[in-house]
Subunit: 298 residues, 2 copies
């Protein structure tokens, strides 16, 4: 069997790190998969569940002669992991990650390393689950899911290719994108919708008739607010890490809503219709994109 990498080290064995580790083990992508983390009970569980081969509690020992180090900690902690890794890993080690925001890590790398290392390949697997923790680690999690790599001018083509092969080996569809564009696109499709869902549910829960509101809501409301059940800490980290793009998308949305509010207040039926029709068309177009993407995979 030809491994893509010899030694893969996963920092943090939650859903994201654990699933990559398990996929790499099961699919023979790495000769050895080593976990590092703070809670030994979790690391032992990762070994017991066959998610990793072994674990280390000392970061320096864990990453020694690693080919690839995958940072799979929460978003804001990932910045700190970069700082801890800086004195420990050599230039030959590829550092990559799975965090939802890329700009904050890129800027952290600039601060920490002075010059951003050629072997730093920031990446974002767009996959998740309502479950979390090492017990939820799933070797199939990334199959047919998109992974966005955000190489920069500093990035080595070879390092990027290795990370791409790892993800493709896990069954993912890999694309590359500029750091800023990634953060704007994700602010639009993921971060802003989460903020709207959280704000809506929080606003309604504070209404006088909140009992009747939730008691009479139906399936459309359930779909619309599902993401408000997401992990608050994770989304707290994400919106702060991607502050600039998130605020810009919030403002664009608020402006749009303000126009619609005025149209409703003034009874401008034609403008209301035009906005709803544009949205319906765009939504149907999006459905077609999703459908084609799914068909392309089969």
């Amino acid at each position: 069997m030809t491994f893509i990498v010899d030694k893969l080290v996963v920092l943090g064995v939650g859903l994201i790190g654990g699933s990559l580790a398990k996929a790499c083990k099961e699919r023979g992508l790495a000769r050895e998969v080593v976990a590092w983390g703070r809670k030994e009970v979790n690391l032992q569980k990762a070994v017991d569940l066959g998610v990793v081969d072994r674990y280390e509690l000392d970061l320096a020992v864990a990453v020694e002669s690693a080919d690839v180090v995958f940072i799979a900690t929460p978003t804001l902690i990932a910045e700190k992991m970069l700082a801890q890794l800086a004195p420990l890993v050599g230039a030959e080690t590829i550092i990559t990650d799975g965090a939802s925001v890329k700009g904050n890590l890129y800027r952290a790398a600039q601060r920490i390393f002075g010059q951003v290392p050629a072997n730093l390949v920031l990446a974002h697997p767009i996959a998740g689950s309502e479950q979390s923790g090492v017990e939820a680690a799933n070797a199939e999690l990334y199959v047919n899911h998109r992974v966005i790599l955000t190489p920069t001018v500093e990035t080595s083509a070879q390092a990027e290719e290795t990370v791409r092969q790892l993800w493709q080996g896990c069954g993912a569809e890999v694309v590359s994108m500029d750091v800023d564009k990634h953060d704007r696109v994700l602010a639009a499709t993921s971060h802003l919708p989460h903020l709207l869902a959280y704000s809506l549910v929080d606003a309604l829960a504070q209404q006088d008739c909140s009992y009747e509101i939730f008691d009479n809501a139906a399936g459309g409301f359930r779909d619309f607010t599902r993401i408000a059940a997401s992990d608050p800490q994770m989304w707290h980290d994400i919106v702060l890490a991607n502050k600039e793009a998130v605020l810009s998308m919030m403002d664009g949305f608020t402006d749009q809503l303000k126009v619609l509010r005025q149209d409703i207040a003034e009874g401008n039926g034609d403008d209301i219709m035009a906005s709803f029709e544009r949205a319906q068309q765009a939504r149907n177009h999006f459905s077609e994109i999703l459908l084609k993407r799914q068909q392309g995979k089969q």
Copy 2:
């Protein structure tokens, strides 16, 4: 077999009217179900599909000696139907409807009839489908769905009871609610979420990177924006018919979002966490309500 009503007349045989008609026929709730509408081809189709027993093109003939007249036209047209019915139906005929907003019809009835008739029982079945038209009429559409009756001080208890029995006969769970409360609750759970979904998709479609946005969006975005594929004309009618409550809910939401925007801009992590946690708890509470409601039905 004991019928609840002798002659049921359905004005408009789309999804809502056609499904009630078909359920009343199949379940033997009405001795005769008559359709009225503008397009004869649709009315004939309703007969061919077994949705109604027969149809009339003349409204006066259709509603003659009707026990119950069900207005199942689009929201804004329902107001006009009330005006057309006023000179045609006697005090013994129950008039009811299935529109999504109740306050505009109540006020229309005040204008049209002077005193709101005792036999006017406004109602709102909270059921729908992505399909529409008489072909989509489904006798099971209302099974286990909620129907909100909005009786007023003028409403006859007997008329309300007849309408309740019809809906219960169709398998629906019937509750009663004040007109204003209904319109506020629906503005919160249904009308505002539709406005947010339409605005979000419309705003994103206008972004420079709209292709990348839709191309990289995943399942959460699909769920969140599903309702933006809804019929623009129907939602245009609803937001204009329920203007006051909709604007009030929009403003409450916008205020909430403004606070969150400031917290993000200023990096107030604790406040962001508190808002997300409140929302997550409320959303989980709502999930339990929905689950209990579904279990109660089984």
